[in-house]
């Protein structure tokens, strides 16, 4: 009888791509809990809706491509993109924002390039950026944190949240500027005074009510992923360090022109989400560890630049997309030194330098 002919190796570590993605999704839960606690069920609705829409769009495209849907959906990459997109979008944004974002992320930025592994740009960030540029009004209405709510008013309940998302009910009473918004618009007050006068800062502990805890939540999730060795420390730590470094240099002693302290930057906006969930996206970042450090550091620097001197209050999405452009270039010049060779090689050389 003929036995099976299979190429070596014949042993394999348990685990699949799907389990990796599932672990990442689960690690977003602490941050999501913080967001929901401080801003209401908006983020949760976003996450669930975006997740479902992304899976639906992926299934539709797979059907059109004639691929087995169950097999490809099982890698949970569409769900993860939906979760990240949902976390990035403002809570209580209309459903069609979520739909357009999901469409851009899954179909435009991922499937049209060939599916998982073939996309050069981070799909969630592409979706976010397309929305931000196309629908600036809806994308800049951020929810008010619990601590800033006036007396007697509570956070939106689930029903009113659903009506806001699906029925277009107005949410003006529940919106407020984010800490980054506030800093961007400040020209006159010293940072100290800003912290005292603005409710979003005065009601907070370190850097901005609600947002600081959300970032802490994502930091916690990220540390768990590092512990599980889902990714290496090089990219996220480089990004955070570079951002802190830039903020420290340009802090300007807390004057009215200051861009914000390092602590402020680390715990505001999408910093931690970006560091541990966006920058670490393996498909679109650099390959070698050295490359990842350069990639992460460049993202950190760019985030600070755009936040402080650019047009947008938060900049993680743009910074990441710009570095996605550069990732192949970084890869060419950051090969590790192979065993038995004196120096690392460059991917562009035809022959090894003697």
């Amino acid at each position: 009888m003929a036995f099976m002919k299979i190429s070596s190796p014949h042993a394999h570590r348990p685990g699949t791509t799907g389990s990796v993605m599932q672990t990442v999704i689960i690690s977003t839960v602490p941050g999501l809990i913080a967001l929901s606690y401080f801003f209401g069920p908006g983020s949760l609705i976003n996450v669930l809706t975006a997740g479902c829409m992304c899976m639906a769009f992926e299934a539709a495209v797979l059907k059109m491509r004639g691929r087995p849907i169950a097999f490809y959906l099982q890698d949970y990459s569409a769900l993860l993109t939906g979760v990240l997109l949902g976390l990035a979008l403002p809570p209580y944004c209309p459903w069609w924002i979520i739909a357009v974002g999901s469409l851009s992320a899954i179909v435009l930025a991922k499937q049209l390039y060939g599916g998982l592994g073939y996309n050069p740009f981070n799909p969630a960030m592409v979706g976010y950026v397309i929305l931000l540029i196309s629908f600036p009004v809806e994308m800049t209405q951020w929810a008010m944190p619990r601590t800033m709510l006036p007396e007697g008013q509570s956070l939106m309940g689930p029903l009113s949240a659903m009506s806001a998302v699906w029925a277009g009910a107005p949410i003006d009473a529940f919106t407020a500027a984010t800490p980054l918004d506030v800093f961007k618009q400040n020209n006159s007050l010293l940072v100290e005074h800003l912290y005292d006068t603005q409710a979003v800062f005065s009601t907070a502990r370190w850097a901005g009510a609600g947002w600081e805890w959300a970032n802490m939540g994502f930091l916690f999730g990220g540390c768990y992923l590092l512990y599980r060795k889902i990714f290496t420390w090089h990219a996220p730590v480089s990004m955070l360090l570079a951002l802190s470094f830039m903020a420290a240099i340009f802090n300007d002693g807390g004057s009215s022109h200051s861009g914000g302290s390092p602590l402020f930057h680390l715990l505001s906006g999408a910093t931690m989400l970006g560091a541990f969930f966006i920058v670490t996206d393996p498909v679109t970042s650099a390959t070698s560890n050295k490359g990842r450090m350069i990639y992460g550091a460049s993202v950190g620097v760019l985030v600070y630049l755009i936040r402080t001197w650019g047009n947008y209050p938060d900049a993680v999405a743009f910074a990441v997309l710009l570095l996605n452009f550069a990732a192949p270039f970084i890869d060419y010049y950051t090969l590790p030194r192979t065993y038995g060779h004196d120096k690392p090689r460059r991917a562009t050389e035809k022959e090894e330098d003697a």
Binding site: K5, S8, T17, L116, P336, Y339, G340, R345
Partner: protein, 692 residues
């Protein structure tokens, strides 16, 4: 604790080593038929020395190494050579190759052996010869001829001898049990190799720390022998620390440079199994005829290590271990990380068979379908060669050979750690093997085309050179001609009168030439005799050559013989004629001696029978006639001659038609042409007559 270094990456797969260590080292009954492939090593296959039907004894040399990178082959048992034919080989390709088949007679009689009790005093080259003669190759799985490794190039000094007892692959315990049961032979072998390499400073036996029994056995043997030269170095278990390059790094911290050997950094690394085999070859004169193989897997009832003769069919081994063919997922020769699958159990055990693995489906399930590569980089984290397997994978898919080479695909040791950890279950090593093959083929093709291009360019240059030379010659000739012309013109101008060269003068010069060749009768005789002699000797020579030649040449030479004979006849005839003529001439001379004074001047020209002068006379007459004719007479003469020729042609054509000659058409056209010419000339004559 001796310092050890760590390799980059590495994995910790489930060891699965306890199954085969429950039972002691065993054996299987002798198989009725032993199949011995001629190539069980790296290098050229061995050349058979025996013929079908020949009786051989155990340990007898049956095939000798072909060249330096090859190994001898010996009969693993006594019996009769059944045949030398192609059989399925234990190779990943599943192909077949030449094998010597021995039908064992069951007696297992050894041939005469040459033991050597004291090798410390023996000459190093003699020891090398013994090891080479014993056909020992790397038994850890690579199969590199041991004698070559133990003879590094003259300019390299070896300061470290490493014995590889690592056995990092899961399931395999062959070296483990060897070290446990034959530790003294391992130590003795180490001392032998140490002596052969000129006593290097360190002799290290590298063993992973998951083999405590083996480590203890080795240390006990060292203590008993009070041996301070050898050190047993345990280090943390990790796959693939047993690879030669990795072990060198772990035990010495040195990296073997890419494309070079460990000898280039002063290290020689030998598997413990090969060491023991080398020791037995020298000490007892035993060639390599058997080895220890781990037989393991859930599809077997018995799992253990066995000492098995080379050439034993795997099927025979499996049969004696309670093999369940329906339970087995796949049959592997080697370990689960680097072993290759066998499609049939009808292949033999060879020098490099360290394990026969027959796992059940539960133990080794079918690999799930591969998903997309997400560049997670886990493969890069575990690669012992510090490569970027994810990039190698993408470039393999794209068949971008330049980028593959820039990413050092040649340094991949195909250990399988990357595929082991890949979350997408991509068979990475398969891609790298395929790419390496493509690159190798490209290199061969490129070399071929480079050589063709070099030949073509050289040819172009050569032709240009030839052209240039011709041009130069032509130019030189032209210059010489011009110079000659100038000289002539200068001579003319200087007043040397040179009469105009006319037809009659050409004739005169020809006459002069012929006259100058007029030799005296004696000289002419001598010349003719010489010609006859040379023709005769040429004939003899050609005869001799014809006798010596054979085949086609003979025919050609026979033809030449014929020619030579004709020539001889010709020259002899001329000679005879001349003699006759001279005799008649002298006779005529003698008879006309009385009238000599009056008639000799007239007779002499007539007595010269030269064909040349006769022709010249004729031509002279004709030229004179021509010179004295008018144009009209000339034309008439032409017409007359043409008429006779037309008559002749007509007669010939009639003959041809009568004979049905194939050249009838040619004759006809010839005739027609001549007739046309005749008519033309007649018309011309008429016209001129009318004019005149």
């Amino acid at each position: 604790m001796r310092k050890t270094w760590d390799i980059h990456g590495g994995i910790h797969p489930a060891e699965n080593k306890t199954q085969s260590l429950q039972s002691p080292l065993g054996s299987v009954p002798l198989a009725p038929e032993l199949v011995l492939p001629l190539n069980q090593h790296i290098g050229k296959p061995a050349l058979p020395l025996v013929a079908e039907g020949e009786q051989v004894l155990k340990g007898q040399l049956i095939a000798r190494a072909d060249g330096p990178i090859s190994a001898n082959l010996h009969a693993p048992t006594s019996g009769i050579i059944q045949s030398i034919e192609d059989r399925a080989l234990p190779h990943p390709s599943g192909g077949s190759g030449p094998c010597i088949i021995i039908a064992s007679d069951g007696n297992d009689t050894w041939t005469e052996l040459e033991p050597c009790a004291d090798f410390e005093s023996a000459d190093r080259n003699l020891l090398l010869d013994k090891i080479r003669a014993a056909g020992i190759a790397g038994m850890g799985g690579a199969g590199f001829p041991t004698a070559i490794k133990l003879n590094p190039r003259g300019n390299l000094t070896i300061d470290t001898l490493i014995l590889n007892g690592t056995e990092c692959e899961p399931y395999i315990t062959a070296d483990d049990i060897l070290m446990q049961t034959r530790a003294d032979e391992v130590i003795a072998g180490a001392m032998l190799l140490r002596h052969m390499l000129g006593n290097p400073e360190q002799v290290l036996i590298g063993v992973e720390d998951n083999k405590p029994d083996a480590i203890k056995a080795l240390n006990d043997a060292l203590a008993t022998a009070d041996n301070k030269a050898i050190e047993v170095v345990p280090f943390p278990t990790k796959y693939p620390s047993g690879g030669e390059k990795q072990l060198v790094q772990i035990l010495t911290g040195r990296e073997v440079p890419a494309g070079k050997l460990p000898a280039d950094v002063g290290v020689v690394c030998q598997n413990v199994g090969s060491t023991v085999a080398a020791y037995r070859a020298v000490r007892f004169g035993e060639p390599l005829v058997s080895r220890i193989t781990t037989v393991v897997g859930e599809a077997l009832e018995t799992q253990r290590n066995i000492e098995v003769p080379l050439g034993t069919p795997i099927g025979h081994v499996l049969q004696h271990h309670g093999f369940n063919a329906s339970k087995v997922a796949r049959l592997i020769m080697g370990g689960p990380m680097m072993g290759f699958t066998l499609e049939t159990a009808n292949v033999p055990v060879v020098k490099t068979t360290n394990c026969i693995l027959a796992p059940s489906a539960k133990e080794m399930p079918e690999p799930p379908p591969a998903q997309a590569c997400i560049r997670c980089g886990m493969c890069a984290e575990v690669c012992p060669a510090n490569l970027l397997p994810q990039q190698l994978f993408w470039y393999s898919m794209a068949e971008d050979l330049e980028k593959l080479e820039a990413h050092n695909i040649a340094d991949c040791i195909e250990c399988g750690a990357c595929s082991y950890v890949c979350p997408s279950n991509i068979p990475l090593v398969q891609y790298y093997r395929a790419s390496k093959g493509t690159i190798r083929q490209h290199a061969i093709d490129k070399e071929k085309s480079d050589r063709s291009r070099a030949r073509f360019e050289f040819r172009q240059v050569r032709m240009e050179k030839a052209e240039a030379e011709k041009e130069a010659k032509r130019k030189a000739r032209k210059l010489a001609a011009e110079a000659a012309k100038k000289k002539m013109a200068a001579k003319q101008a200087a007043g040397v009168d040179k009469p105009k060269v006319e037809k009659a003068d050409v004739l005169a010069s020809a006459i002069a030439q012929a006259k100058s060749q007029d030799l005296s009768p004696e000289d002419q005789l001598a010349k003719l005799e010489r010609a006859a002699n040379s023709a005769r000797s040429r004939l003899e020579k050609t005869h001799a050559r014809a006798a010596a030649a054979e085949g086609e040449k003979k025919d050609a030479i026979l033809a030449r013989v014929k020619d030579a004979e004709l020539k001889v006849q010709d020259t002899e005839r001329k000679l005879a004629k001349f003699i006759e003529q001279t005799q008649s001439a002298s006779a005529a001379e003698a008879s006309t001696d009385k009238q000599e004074d009056v008639e000799s001047p007239e007779k002499q020209p007539a007595a010269e029978p030269d064909a040349a002068s006769a022709a010249i006379e004729k031509a002279k007459v004709k030229a004179a006639a021509q010179a004295s004719m008018t144009p009209a007479e000339k034309l008439q003469q032409q017409l007359d001659s043409l008429k006779t020729r037309v008559e002749k042609a007509r007669a010939r054509l009639e003959k041809a038609e009568a004979d049905n000659d194939e050249n009838v058409e040619a004759f006809r056209t010839g005739l027609e042409k001549m007739q046309a010419k005749y008519e033309k000339l007649t018309l011309e004559q008429t016209n001129s007559q009318n004019d005149g």
